[in-house]
Amino acid sequence: MSINTGEQKSDLGTLFHGSVPVTGDLVGERLFPGEVSAIRHAKELLSEEGAVDSDSWREAFAQLLDHYGHMLRYAKKITSLSDSAHRKLLKMRESLTGRNQEIQSQQDALLKLNRELERAGVTDALTELYNRRYVYHYLPGDAEAVIRAYQSHEGEMPENQDLIFLMIDIDFFKEINDRYGHIAGDRVLKQIAAVLQGCCRRGDIVARWGGEEFLIIHREANRLHARELAERVRRAVAEASFFVEDDESIACTCSVGFSAFPILPNFPRRFSWLDTIQAVDLMLITAKRSGRDCWVGMDANPDMAEQLKGGFALPKLQSYCREGAVRLHMSGNRAEGI
C-alpha cells in the first residue's frame, strides 16, 4: 500500500456522486490516498468511451477489492481503538468524580470538625457555659455596638441598650470541696450554672470566669434594672438546693458585683468593657467583705465625668467614691463601704 500524506486536492464528492463538484481540503483523501486513487482509477475506466479490455476491468476490480478489504480492516481496528480510548477517558472521568466526592465529603467533615473545635474552644468543659475566651472574643463587638447606639442618640439616652455585668462568686465553695470532695464540688458547679442560666434571657452571656466565679452579661438591658437582676441571681442561688450526692443536697449562697456598660452614658468611650470587668471585680470583693450572700454595684455620676479618668484600680475607685463621682449600691444594709 502507499502512504501518502501530502496535501492533495481532489473532487472526492464527484468520485462518489457523479456530478457534484467538491472543492477544498478533503480529509478522506489525505487519510486514505491509496483508496481514493483506486476509486479514481475505476471511475476513469467507467467513463472511457468505447470498449475497455477485460484485463483492465479485472485489474481495477482486484485493486478495488484489495483496498476495500484494507479499508474494512482499518475501520474495524480504528473503531475498536477508539472505543478503548473512549472507555479509558470515561473511566478517568468516573474516578475523578469519585475523587471529587471524596474531597467534598472530607471538606464537609473538616468544616464540621472546625465548627466543633471552635465551639469547644469557647465552652467550659465542666459546666458547658461559655468560657473566658468567648468573652474576650465576642465582647468587644457587643461593646462597640452599644457605644454606637449611645453615640447615635444625642441628648436623650437610649433605652435597653446597656450591657449589665454581674460577677458572681460562690461563697465558701472551698468548704464544699473539702467536705464532699471535688467530684461533688464539680456537681454543684454544674447545678449553679443551670441556676444562673435560669436567671438569664436567651442572648445573655453566662460564662464561667474562673474556678467558682461566673460572669453574666445581660444584653439589651436597662441600667435601672441592674439591682433587680443582681438580687434575682443572689436569691435564685440562695433558694436552690444543690445535690452533692444523689440523696444529699446542700444550700449555697453567692456574692455579686455589678455595673452597667457604658459606665458613663454621656461619654460611652471613656471606660472600656475591660474597665467594667475590673469594676465589677472590685464590687464583688466589696460584697465578699460585706459578709457575702449579697450584692454590691456601682454607677458613675455623669455630672462628674471630669473627675472620672484612669480606670478602676482600688485606690482610684476609693477616691471616686470620696468625691462622689461613683456611687455604690448595696443589698440590705450589710455594706460597710469600700
Binding site: M1, I3, T5, G6, R30, L31, R73, Y74, K77, I78, S80, L81, S82, S84, A85, R87, K88, L89, K91
Partner: protein, 127 residues
C-alpha cells in the same frame, strides 16, 4: 544520502519519538491527540520508509502510549503496516507494546494492533 537519527521531544498532546538508523531502534512514548495527526506523523512514516528502503536493517520498535485519538490510531496503523511489510520481506522486526499494569484499555489496544499480523507483538506490563 545518510539517514539521520530522528528525535522529537514529547509534548502534552504529541508523542516523544526516537528513531535510530544505527541500531534500528524506534520508540514512541506518551499521549497523541494533536490538532493534525497526519501532519505530525508524516515525517515519521517517511523516515521509516526511508530506513526500510535504504538501510534495510532489523527493527526493534517500542510503543509506550497512554492515550491516542482516532486519527493518531490511523497513523499508528500505517506504521504497523509498514513494520508488517518489512517483516514479511524477511527482516527481523521486534515490536514491544508497553502498557501500565492496570490499564486494560491500552493493553487491549495493543492486541487490536497485533490482530491479523504475522508479526509478533510482545505485551509488556509496567508498574
Amino acid at each position: 544520502m545518510k539517514l539521520e537519527p530522528f528525535y522529537i521531544t514529547g509534548k502534552k498532546d504529541t508523542l516523544a519519538v526516537r528513531l535510530d538508523p544505527q541500531t534500528g531502534r524506534m520508540s514512541f512514548e506518551g499521549e497523541s491527540y494533536p490538532e493534525n495527526a497526519l501532519e505530525f506523523f508524516a515525517p515519521i512514516t517517511k523516515w521509516i520508509q526511508a530506513y526500510m528502503s535504504e538501510v534495510k536493517g532489523a527493527i526493534v520498535a517500542d510503543f509506550k502510549l497512554q492515550y491516542f485519538n482516532s486519527s493518531s490510531s490511523k497513523c499508528l496503523l500505517d506504521i504497523f503496516e509498514l513494520l508488517e511489510n518489512h517483516f514479511r520481506q524477511g527482516h527481523s522486526v521486534v515490536v514491544n507494546w508497553h502498557y501500565q499494569e492496570d490499564d486494560e484499555d491500552i493493553e487491549e489496544s495493543g492486541r487490536d494492533f497485533a490482530e491479523d499480523l504475522s508479526l509478533q507483538i510482545n505485551m509488556i506490563a509496567y508498574e
